[in-house]
Symmetry: C2
Subunit: 244 residues, 2 copies
Amino acid sequence: MTGTLTIAGLGPGDEALVTPEVSAALVDATDVVGYAPYVARVKLREGLTLHPSDNRMEVQRANDALRLASEGCRVIMVSSGDPGVFAMASAVFEALEAAPQWQGIAIRVLPGVTAMMAAAARAGAPLGHDFCAINLSDNLKPWSMIEKRLRLAAEADFAIAMYNPRSVSRPEGFGRALSVLKEASCGERLVIFAHAVTTPEERIETVMLHEARPEMADMRTVVIVGNSATRRVGSWVYAPRHAR
Amino acid sequence: MTGTLTIAGLGPGDEALVTPEVSAALVDATDVVGYAPYVARVKLREGLTLHPSDNRMEVQRANDALRLASEGCRVIMVSSGDPGVFAMASAVFEALEAAPQWQGIAIRVLPGVTAMMAAAARAGAPLGHDFCAINLSDNLKPWSMIEKRLRLAAEADFAIAMYNPRSVSRPEGFGRALSVLKEASCGERLVIFAHAVTTPEERIETVMLHEARPEMADMRTVVIVGNSATRRVGSWVYAPRHAR
């Protein structure tokens, strides 16, 4: 039996947002590897072994998946959202680079609906003009780089999607990010807090940046800061297609 | 009968990337509105009327969809990829803002897999670190704004996904975009040209920026410029999660 590794995105939460391509890969798999809350979204069945792991174990998890595939398993590595956006795909290629013996394994990456797209759809169309996506976690990069990117993104007048804005172990960064954006004269921009989008706990809140407070976000929140032209129509928020 | 308007993304091309949520909305619809090549992706059936329209007719198309919904139809507006990324969602809200009589219509936006995510999955994980998405069409914004954003994106060391890089009516811009990035010292960055991703015409090509030529792109290409750390492992291209 030849092993394979499929790196798949389960979408933001709702089963109706799992692509048929990913559903078919789950049917075909012998082993599911991933962060425990994402593995828990996969239905257990005969012939399928689940390998849940803890947060921050990305490289070990990637090595486990590659080893299982090298042993002949059909492994599916599951991420929430899209596996290529602040998720497991990069970690797998990092592990692969360090392990030449596994570089012959057949790997596929299956895209998914990432959280900012689902959040934008709920809010209206805040990503309808040029935008950027920034991971606010400073576990793997210096905080100064995050601040620099926020300043340049504001200067470029991008809409800004912020992933992983705030966690128990990083309670301070998001407040600093809001301050950086306020200093960059973004106070009058609209900000969307999208919590647990497409799950039963979904909560969407839109405020002006100068009204935004750090505690409005947690690790299950994606925050989208509009560009300078982003506006409301009724309960919707959208970025106009035109810009001057 | 109460009319509704559903703004849906069909994904990049492969039917296996259409979400079940969108498939269900297509079953429920009475009318499909959209740019002709996207409407052509919907299977005709009894009780379903197709309303294909030409390119660049976005606002008229949005008005047509809203009018049909106001008359009691269950309208689905289809875009390729995600409807909120350089697609029809913003145009609908723009039309809605100008038409208070339609602001009571029940509207839903259904996300999809946008082209850059599908392209990134085919290439590896080039969007695994912070990134931005820029529409290179200057139909609705001045070219100077595009150049400014490219310069700032390079300075921020974002990976850069470029949509609509080149068309028959805009043959020159993409070459200028490549020059701007070369001037911004991005010559040694990896660039992925992803043409018609997930369709039978798919073609993925990765070169160094200094080797990139304008004619490598057309309107069906998404171009992803890696960040300064983006690298190859075997045939894959990925952005490391760490940055200094």
